[in-house]
């Protein structure tokens, strides 16, 4: 299966999903006006990737800003991963990176950690 990559820009995060290593990364800023359209191909790739049972998946979020519309998309990604772990013998680890002193980004991570049953690391950088 092909890897998935999008170069980041001002309002689009850098996306690096590696099918071989199972390391999926989202980094930067996310405030595209039409997140449903923007995230469409990302969800298609993820759904294909999660077809195969028993994968070891590491999901890295390293965001400096995301809007409320992206926040909903992130929850959808995490929910997909949670279902994968529960139904398809997947092993999922989420790493939520936040800039030291960014209390808001830390709180966002804590809220996601509460919303899904996954191994969830909050990591300051």
């Amino acid at each position: 299966m092909e890897n998935f990559h999008i170069d980041g820009s001002t309002y689009i995060p850098r996306i690096d999903f590696n099918a071989e290593t199972g390391v999926l990364e989202l980094e930067g800023e996310s405030y595209h006006e039409y997140t449903t359209e923007f995230f469409g191909p990302i969800f298609s790739w993820l759904e294909d990737f999660l077809e195969q049972a028993g994968r070891e998946v590491t999901m890295n979020f390293k965001m400096s800003y995301f809007n409320t519309s992206s926040s909903r998309r992130f929850l959808e990604i995490l929910t997909l991963l949670e279902e994968y772990q529960n139904d398809k013998e997947g092993k999922v680890t989420v790493n939520w990176y936040y800039e030291e002193n960014d209390v808001d980004m830390l709180e966002s991570g804590e809220e996601y950690a509460d919303d899904v049953e996954l191994t969830f690391n909050l990591i300051a950088y």
Binding site: Y31, H32, N67, T68, R72, V103, D104, D114
Partner: protein, 182 residues
């Protein structure tokens, strides 16, 4: 015809301590530019990001929901027109947006704002998470989280003013105060 006076305009902006004002089509590129320029505004990085977050939510409301639209060549679609301004007083940054909305949208917006303004921090957090879990609303590109996010990020209630615009539309003014001290 009397010409527009840049000088008078600048004096008015200075008197009101307005650091940023944009009127027009809220295209994606405009959003990005406004965002960038805001990042360096205040001393605290956390407060800068909160201002940025609130302005982006307001700008995206205008982009999607303003009842006055213009065609944007670059974006290839009709995009909302409105105003966003950032001013300050001694204790706060004050972010204000203005745009047209259909008259029948006024009561539900006020009701939602009042409900959200009435929640304490814990209830607000719970409401945000509850709404985020709900399925995307049909035909609505937004996440329906903007007001909640504004109150959470600012720590203050949102203020709404409605003015008459024409027979079918009202002018919707939204203000949020962000404390300068964390």
């Amino acid at each position: 015809m009397e010409h527009f006076s840049v000088k008078t305009f600048k004096q008015q902006l200075s008197a009101k301590k307005i650091s940023l004002a944009f009127q027009g089509i809220f295209s994606q590129d405009v959003l990005a530019l406004i965002g960038k320029s805001l990042r360096n505004t205040p001393d605290s990085r956390v407060i800068a990001k909160r201002l940025f977050a609130i302005v982006i939510e307001m700008a995206q409301n205008i982009h999607h929901y303003s009842a006055e639209k213009q065609y944007s060549e670059k974006d290839g679609r009709d995009i909302g027109v409105g105003i966003v301004a950032v001013a300050e007083d001694d204790q706060h940054y004050v972010i204000t947006s203005g745009n047209c909305i259909d008259k029948h949208e006024v009561p539900p917006l006020i009701e939602r704002a009042n409900y959200i303004n009435g929640l304490d921090a814990d209830k607000l957090k719970a409401f945000y998470r509850e709404q985020r879990k709900m399925p995307q609303r049909e035909g609505k590109p937004g996440a329906n989280l903007g007001f909640i996010d504004m109150v959470r990020k600012s720590g203050n209630p949102i203020e709404i003013n409605i003015k008459d615009y024409d027979d079918t539309r009202s002018f919707f003014i939204l203000s949020v105060r962000v404390n300068k001290e964390l």
